[in-house]
């Protein structure tokens, strides 16, 4: 019987010693376990964490999430974002055969998906290899929590030259009510040469529990392959979500990422992309939308280690109330990465006096024949544009909504799955409708 613990750090330490079944072998877990045993969490004195208020999260002593009441309509509503997709549902961290959908013919078409709990033999070895290859440079404790305590998640394997026309829709639902719950789903994705896949990963809350969500994703995209990876966070306002994603992009391969941080009390995403061969491409997009005391934090790290690779980043933030946004993006262009084209842009819209954003776009360039640009803006609504709309009969609230929706649409219009674009835009519109008051 587990003893009650006083805080998250103690709880994590305790988990190290439990005799639960974990997804990965001792060899993969042990570096993480030794970090967890130390139990050292970052504080505001750590440069990389100085803006991130972990306090509430670290004071909590959670328990593994257990499934509360189910609501089929809730699941169906989430599926609306991707009505024709292969749907993989995780309820409180556990794969749900019952709610998952349209998985029957996946394997014959060359896409293998396996819940981590069922992984064994060669597949397990390949999954672990993917994790080790993807190794994050940001050695934060949360990736060790995700990995060291991993019990569930998904391994996706796409065979050579397989074009998967229908996207995978992975839905993580937290159904717990009441006390703090914990989940740490891991997603491992491997695309063999010249294969293509689209993944939409969505996090949502059905219950009201303050969930600590610590996911991690490890992605390997082999030569000539292409992955579109959409990630949408719409969890309840008590959730604390800290995720890590490590992506390796091989020669002539492409990676496209969209992240939408639209919920949670705290949401922090660390996305690391490394080019491991020439001619690769990465497109990173994202919107964070905050209100009240929300903290939304996007970190990107792009490693241009090979020549002729392109990266293009565009992130936008809309912040209201006392919410806070962080964009911290580092592009590293190594000495031999000639003919690199790296673009990075971060634009922020503050809707209230107390909202705040810290933006830190960074370029470190060691090659001499490159095209790199970065820029960041923080601004308020354009009063000229507002007046222009009003002068045509559009009321002030509606005018503000039109302009803020348009600000986000500059990113969301690039979602090239139509139903998903409509879904994300409607979620953003609904959130804005709530936060924009008539007398803004």
């Amino acid at each position: 019987m587990a003893q009650l613990t006083n805080n998250f750090s103690d709880w994590v330490k305790q988990q190290v010693d439990t005799d639960s079944t974990f997804a990965f072998s001792e060899a993969v877990r042990s570096p993480s376990l030794s970090r967890l045993a130390e139990g050292v969490f970052p504080t505001r004195k750590d440069e990389e964490w100085k803006y991130t208020p972990l306090g509430v999260m670290l004071e909590a002593s959670p328990d593994r999430a257990v499934t509360g009441a189910l609501d089929i309509q809730f699941v169906e509503n989430l599926k609306q974002a991707m009505p024709t997709a292969h749907t993989i549902v995780f309820m409180d961290g556990n794969f749900s055969q019952e709610y998952s959908d349209k998985l029957a013919d996946l394997e014959t078409s060359g896409v293998k998906i396996s819940p981590l709990s069922k992984l064994e033999g060669a597949a397990l070895q390949l999954a672990e290899k993917t994790i080790l290859e993807a190794a994050l440079t940001d050695d934060n404790i949360f990736q060790h929590i995700a990995l060291g305590l991993s019990q569930n998640g998904l391994f996706i394997e796409v065979d050579k030259k397989v074009e998967c026309p229908t996207p995978l829709h992975i839905i993580h639902i937290s159904s717990a009510n009441g006390a703090t719950a914990f989940t740490n789903p891991i997603n491992i994705t491997r695309l063999a040469e010249n294969s293509h896949l689209k993944i939409v990963e969505q996090f949502a809350s059905l219950g009201d529990a303050a969930v600590i969500t610590v996911p991690a994703s490890y992605v390997q995209i082999e030569a000539g392959a292409g992955l579109d990876y959409y990630r949408i966070g719409i969890e309840n306002g008590s959730t604390n979500h800290v995720c890590n994603t490590a992506v390796k992009v091989s020669a002539s391969a492409t990676f496209k990422s969209h992240q939408y941080l639209l919920g949670s009390n705290l949401s922090r995403s660390n996305l690391e992309v490394s080019f491991t061969g020439p001619g690769a491409e990465a497109v990173l997009r994202g919107v964070y939308l905050g209100d009240d005391k929300q903290h939304l934090d996007v970190r990107t790290y792009l490693d241009h280690a090979h020549p002729h690779c392109n990266s293009d980043q565009h992130f936008r933030g809309i912040l209201n109330g006392q919410s806070r946004g962080v964009f911290n993006g580092l592009v590293l262009v190594r000495e031999h990465a000639q003919k690199t084209d790296a673009q990075q842009s971060n634009k922020n819209l503050l809707l209230s006096r107390d909202a705040r954003v810290d933006t830190k776009p960074q370029l470190e360039i060691f090659a001499d024949d490159v095209k790199c640009a970065h820029g960041a803006t923080v601004g308020e609504l354009d009063t000229d544009a507002l007046f222009y709309l009003q002068s045509r009969g559009i009321g002030k609230k509606e005018a503000v909504l039109m302009l803020t929706r348009a600000f986000a649409a500059e990113v969301t219009q690039e979602i090239d799955i139509e139903s998903l674009q409509i879904y994300v835009q409607s979620k953003i519109a609904a959130a804005l409708d709530e936060i924009v008051t008539p007398n803004v």
Partner: protein
């Protein structure tokens, strides 16, 4: 329709309009001319409700309503329209859906039924011919990437669709070549009727070759110093503003 009496307006404590009077009746076209800095654009902005102007005295009534107390959108819904000197670019807001929204807000205010997408498209296609505008501009964000002439035509298109009772054209001719000027003026001429009125603010007489005004007023240092008919505009074209300003000063 529009009745301005002794209007005094300042910007950041600097008086700009210093007792302006103007009466506009349905069916009339009034031209307001004057040198740079005389207060022409301030007048247009105050009448349309832009922030940043303090009214220190006088009144402005539109259809018997106190114009100066109305929010900009209410003025528009009551039938006022300002064609901007510098139309604003609005990234991400589609030109067509913007105009549909605007029209339906105005129709709602009038107690009319909102137009659906098909009826609206029919209306806008018809009015686009008036200003000879290319259809692809409808699919673009409002004014974004439009040339100077396209922006001004877009203003006239909006005016044609919203069908105002009082339109104020703020230096609509500035930056237009002669062909664009003819198209824009042609649009205005087709829209004029016995029920609506236009206030055409311009620095140059040439627009008035195409939009023939019933009255011409000369604005100088925040006051109308002379009113007349279109012949006054021609005289100004020939002799400039200086003689009038001197004449006004000697009277004062």
């Amino acid at each position: 329709m529009l009745s301005i009496k002794n209007l005094q307006v300042s910007v950041e404590d600097k008086p700009i309009l210093k007792g302006l009077n103007l009466e506009v009746k349905p069916g009339e076209i009034h031209a307001i001319m004057g040198p740079n800095g005389s207060g022409k654009s301030t007048l247009a902005h105050v009448l349309s409700g832009r922030e940043g102007y303090s009214v220190n005295g006088g009144s402005a009534e539109y259809k018997g309503l106190n114009l100066l107390k109305m929010a900009p959108e209410i003025r528009a819904r009551e039938g006022m329209f300002l064609a901007f000197q510098y139309p604003i670019e609005i990234p991400g807001v589609n030109n067509t859906s913007f105009l549909k929204k605007a029209l339906n807000e105005i129709r709602k205010h009038r107690g009319e039924e909102e137009l659906d997408a098909i009826d609206f498209l029919g209306l806008i296609r018809k009015q686009m011919k008036l200003v000879e505008m290319k259809e692809d501009l409808l699919k673009r964000p409002v004014n974004q990437g439009f040339s100077g002439g396209e922006k001004k035509r877009n203003e006239i298109l909006q005016m044609a669709v919203l069908n105002p009772t009082l339109a104020i054209l703020d230096e609509t001719d500035s930056g237009l070549d002669i062909d664009a000027l003819r198209i824009v003026a042609g649009g205005v001429n087709k829209l004029r009727s016995a029920d609506n009125a236009f206030v055409v603010i311009t620095h140059y007489q040439r627009l008035l070759d195409y939009i023939v005004p019933d009255f011409v007023h000369v604005l100088s240092d925040g006051q109308i110093i002379k009113s007349g008919t279109k012949e006054l505009a021609m005289e100004l074209e020939e002799r400039g503003y200086d003689w009038l300003i001197k004449e006004a000063e000697s009277k004062a």
